[in-house]
Every structure is written in C-alpha cells, then in structure tokens.
Amino acid sequence: MAFICSKGNLDMAYPALIMGNAALGEGVEVHIFFTFWGLDIVNTKTNDKLKFTLSGNTAMHMPDLGRIKPGLEHVSMPQVLGNLPGMTGYATRMMNKQMEEQEIPTVPEFLDLLQASGAHMYACRLTYDMMKLLEADLHPGVEGVISAGDFIDIAEGAQVVFV
C-alpha cells in the first residue's frame, strides 16, 4: 500500500499512520510519501507539536457537549469559534488527550513504531527543498528524499491512499 501525506495538521497526520500500521500488521508492504505540509510529520523539529484547528473543519463536533444538552454532541461547531484566541491550543490539547485515552501513540512514537515494523518512508524532494529542510532533522525512519516521479515508480501497481 502507498500513502501520500500532504497535510501537517494533527488530525490529518494520524489517518495514514494508523492505516499504515494496520496494513503492516496484516503483512502488507507499506510505502509513505510525505509532501508539502505532510513533511511536518517527519520533521523532528515540528512533529511533536502538530496542531488541530477548528477553522476549515466543518465536521468538528464534541462528544462531551452531549452532557450539557443531549443532541449537542452531533452539532458541528460554528466556524467562527476557531478564530477565537487560544482555540487552536485548546482543541489540540483536547485531541491529544483523547488520543492518549485510546492509547494511540504520539506522532514521533508512531514513526518509531512504523520504522521498526518495516514501513518505507520518503520525503518529497521538491517541497523539502522549497521548505529548506535539513536531513539531520528528518526522522531516522525516512529512507530518502526522493522526487514525486521516483515515488510513482515505487508505488506502481499499489493501492494509493492520498491524505
């Protein structure tokens, strides 16, 4: 299976990591290509502080609100709330807490896990150069900085999941 991770939000980092891990568990070969803000996931300077924002997330609703008034847990939060100061920090802490309760590892730990399980991870050459990243900062599980074309070759015939 091949994954392309193009987003650096906390909630956009997890899907590929979780699915990739599940695929490895099923004995499937896994290749992950990190591009654009997805590079933040494998950059050790940023991957321990990925953020979750309300803005742009129209589906955002909170299970805890159901305690205040039944039904409220299914109502999506008004977009404008995301513009309030401190909201991103609050939402990020909430999400990290919920992840922890589900015993889902943090992003850096998840990468260690994927590396140990044999996932192949790559950084996108174009965006890596564009963002002036340093090889020394990449998670050691990243095998190389390769072009999109290289990844297409690697992923040929595989099921490709774009996140």
């Binding site: 150069d129 990243l133 340093l134 020394a136």
Partner: protein
Amino acid sequence: MDTRRGIVGGMNKLLILGAGTAGTMAANHLLATLDKSAWSITVVDQDTEHRYQPGYLFIPFWMKPERVVKDRRELLHDGIEFVEAGIAKVHREEREVELVDGRRLSYDWLIIASGTRPDPTLVDGMADGSLWRDKVHEFYTYEGSVALKKSLAEFTEGRILVHITEMPIKCPVAPLEFAFLVEDHFRKQGIRHKVDITYVTPLDGAFTKPVASKELGGLLKDRSIRLAADFAVERIDNEAQKLVAYDGRELPFDLLVTIPPNVGQQFVMDSGLGNDAGFVPVDKHTLRSVVDERIFVLGDASDIPTSKAGSVAHFAVEEFIDNFVAAVDGRPLPNAFDGHANCFIESGRGQAMLLDFNYDTQPLKGTFPVPVVGPMTLLKPSRANHLGKLAFEQIYWKMLLPGHKLPVSSHMSMAGKRQPKE
C-alpha cells in the same frame, strides 16, 4: 638527592622554556616575587609572536588574523631576558638547555611551559593527503585557521565534518564551539539547508559528563547537527573524500575540520622527559616533574588530568608561585593545585555557556562567580557569557599575562553551584 639550597652565592638562574600563556605569566609573576639582585630570569622561545589562541576559533568567521598577535618581548616585563631560539634538548645532568643553534644555557631551576601542538602527521592521509589545507583543515594553528577562513568563505553546499581525532586535546570544547559557530554562520547566510554538519568524536557523545550531558545533550539536535560517536579514525581517504574508522564506518565530506592528535614539543621527547605523547609527567598537585625536582611544568606541557587550557595555566601559575619560593628555600610546598578550569563555550546565536570544574568536580549548573546573582550562568547558554568570552581577550592581554590578580579564586569554589540530586 641534591642538598644544595636554591639560593647560593651569586646569581641564580631561572630558565623558562616557552613564552606562551603559562611561560609569560610565570615570568612576570616571578619577577615581582623573587629578589632581583639574586635572580636572573630568562625566557626562551622559537619566535617573537605571542598569539591569543582563543582567537583561532573566531578567525575563520570574523576576527582579523593580525588581531591575535603581539610581540612576546613586549609582554615580558623589563628585567626578563628573552632569547629567540628553538630548543633542542634539556640536559638534566648538567642542568643545561641546548638550543637549536648550538648554544647552551645553564640553569638552576627550569620551568617547562612549551605547551602542546597539533600533529597532523599521526593520522594517515591527514598532513600527507592531497586535501590538506584545501578540504581538510584544522584551526589549532594560526596558519590553519587562516586557511580555513578561505575555504569556509568559498563553501556554499555540502557535508561538513567537525572531527576530534583523539583526546586529550587543547581546549577540549573548541571543536564543539566550532560546530555551533559554523552552524550559525551558514544560517545567517541563508544556506543552512544546503549544509549538512556532523560532529565526530571518539568519545560516546558530545557531552560525556553526567550533568552536562543531561543539561546540554539536546543542544546538537536543537541545532540540527548530527552526531557520530565512538568514532576511532583510522585514516582519511583523500581520493574518495571520506573519513574512515577502524570499525569500518565511513563518513563522506566536502569539508573536514579536524583536530589532529595533540602532542608535546619534540625537544621534550628528545630529552626523555615526556610520555608517549610528549607530555611531561608531573605531580598533579605541585606540577613538579616526577623525575627531577629542579623542573616544574606549567600549562599544557604537563600530563595533569584536566583540560589543556589557558584558564588552567592561569590558576596553576597562581598556586605555583608560593610553591616555587618554598622549593627554592628547601621547604615543603604549601599549595596543592586542584585542577581548576573555567571555560566559556561559544554556543552560537550570540550566546555562550560557562564551565567551572576541577579534578574532582564535574561541571555543574548554577551561577558564576556570585551565587544566584551571577551574572554568568553555568552550563546554560546566555548572552552574558558570550560577552564575557569576548571581554576575556582584553583581560588576557592586560591582566592575565602581566600577572595581575583576577577577582576569581585559583581554587574552584562550590558557591553558586548546584549539586545534582541523587
């Protein structure tokens, strides 16, 4: 055992080999201490240029090379004789020192302050390689740091290795400082992302003592500098531009900044006074030669197990003066040097760290020299430390070398230091 007292009729001759930091300080201190009518003080060095060696670190980046040089003769007080000549051999039995030009100088007491020098011939492919002073550099000599300045200015892209061949080396933190400064240099130029920096050490990490490694262990990672530890270099492959270790590891480079093995001077080895690396074995508390009571060793030339650094020489000289007077009188030596060292570590980004330690106490956290108030912080980067390091240049020329007292005890003080919790 020689029963003659040091002071006998006529002039007593004190001979000092080396007019560097330790030799100059000792000469000036002793001139003020000893009875001028009974003593002559002679200092020998192979040239007349005294170099401010901490400046070597900055020459590749911004310091004007000529700024680190002064005339040795001007730094020695009037009344001290200076002889410009290479030293060939010490004849202990005759109490004579043979110079390269064939002259012989006799002495009653001898101080060896000839320091240490990098010897790049000890590693295969270093001094004898085609890349020496081109892509393989050192900054432990004046010539080396000037040559490195040129290579660094032309460097725009590629891999840089900052490498220590083997301990002990002079100023053991200098390579780390260089790594921080070179990182800063390329960051300021906006091409940091094109430069890959690796710190290569034979030890098991950049920071090897418990408290320092706990406090500063993350600093390399923070600066995106890679670490290659436990790297025992076998040779430099000039053709392939690789540093090769005994265990088979190979590190490619476009610029290698290495610290060659540091050894004592040739005359020390030729005189049978040195150990395998040319350092003179001494009692670590009195700095007196273990084989000849008429010989003391100051500065980097001895084998004492502490940093080879100017601060050590400075603290040691202060302890030594009373000991020397006592030795001349035939009394027991009153002072015991504790190995006190005090070093600024440039950490880049306009900051520096400060270390204060001795034979028995590892570098700890805290403030210096005054508890709580500081103004300098131990084991933590700060602006005040950086300014302290820059200010030290003037202190060196105007206070240390002439032999003025500094408001810092030559014995290490625990005031202001915090002990790690067990």
